[in-house]
Amino acid sequence: MNDIILSSATIGVVISLLAYELGAWMKKKFRSGIFNPLMISIVLTIIFLLAFGIEYENYNAGAKYLSYLLTPATVSLSIPLYMKLDLLKKHLWAILGGILSGVLSGMVCILALAAAFGLSHEQYVTLLPKSITTAIGIGIAEEYGGVAAITVAVIIITGVLGNMTAEFVCRTFGIKYAVSRGLAIGTASHAIGTGKAIEMGETEGAMSGLAIAVAGLMTVAAAGVFSAFL
């Protein structure tokens, strides 16, 4: 089976896209937020690989070309932001203040819980950059002595969780403005959450994209202070 998978440069992409389509179909069919297409596609793909004994490395030999598009897609997030530039200019300080509050509260929360669970310093700094985009998170984890591979895993879990629960959280806690919802999603769950913000609306998408960059940079600065604890 691994030979068959390796013989095709596109099969990893086909499996991934097909799994996502199935997830989207289930969401439509059952009309429930629990059926998150991204979560379903990840689970289905993992089941498929385990069921046929396919090595991750062999699947990823083709599937990596999907992830290859991530950097140009991140660059493209400037396009919806540009289209909402008037909002950014007008509410600049509220936007920066909102993102900063999220970054700091996240780190305080991780510090308090890490202490409560009796985690080691290494485990604590591994979790510290969990809400930001992978490329920055890996850098922070390595800089302060965390385990980058676990940081990546936790960043992905955070993103998928944000993607799954964003609509529920915004509704339950009555987050009023589209700008606030977008910033909340992007600050808490980076690009994976942003996928959901884009579905919710143009303003949400633009602000979530902005929050990825701003929260990422603020986290770099704040991690210098927070890494000194525990």
Binding site: T71, S76, L85
Partner: protein
């Protein structure tokens, strides 16, 4: 030729971002540099919206599937994670909600207080 030009501009901005990543010794990824470059190019009019719009929107629309391969990679890192799985999941879930709620509610508050808060959707 519309898509060709759009693809060229987006990849060019990405490429400039990657070069900046290489030359600037800061932990800032290429995508963030590229995002800033593209935003500045749009604001200054060096790049027109119509020359990046459709291809950019296509890439953004398909962005969720780009996370499937690294997320499936969890099967390889599971060994590292399984020992501390319970605290990690509890911390992840609580802190993600805290960040989302604090950011959303505080931005709401700041927007309501600022002048012209009423005209935001």
């Amino acid at each position: 030729m519309k898509y060709l030009k759009q693809l060229l501009i987006i990849f060019l901005a990405t490429c400039i971002g990657e070069m900046m990543r290489f030359f600037i010794p800061l932990p800032i990824p290429a995508g963030i540099y590229g995002m800033v470059i593209m935003l500045l190019a749009l604001i200054t009019g060096i790049v027109k919206l119509e020359n990046v719009k459709e291809t950019g929107e296509f890439l953004i629309e398909i962005m969720p599937v780009m996370f499937i391969p690294p997320a499936v990679g969890l099967i390889d890192t599971w060994g590292l994670l399984s020992d501390i799985f319970v605290p990690v999941i509890v911390i992840t879930v609580i802190s993600t909600f805290v960040v989302m709620i604090v950011t959303g509610k505080l931005t709401d508050l700041l927007l309501s207080r600022s002048k012209g808060g009423a005209d935001i959707e």
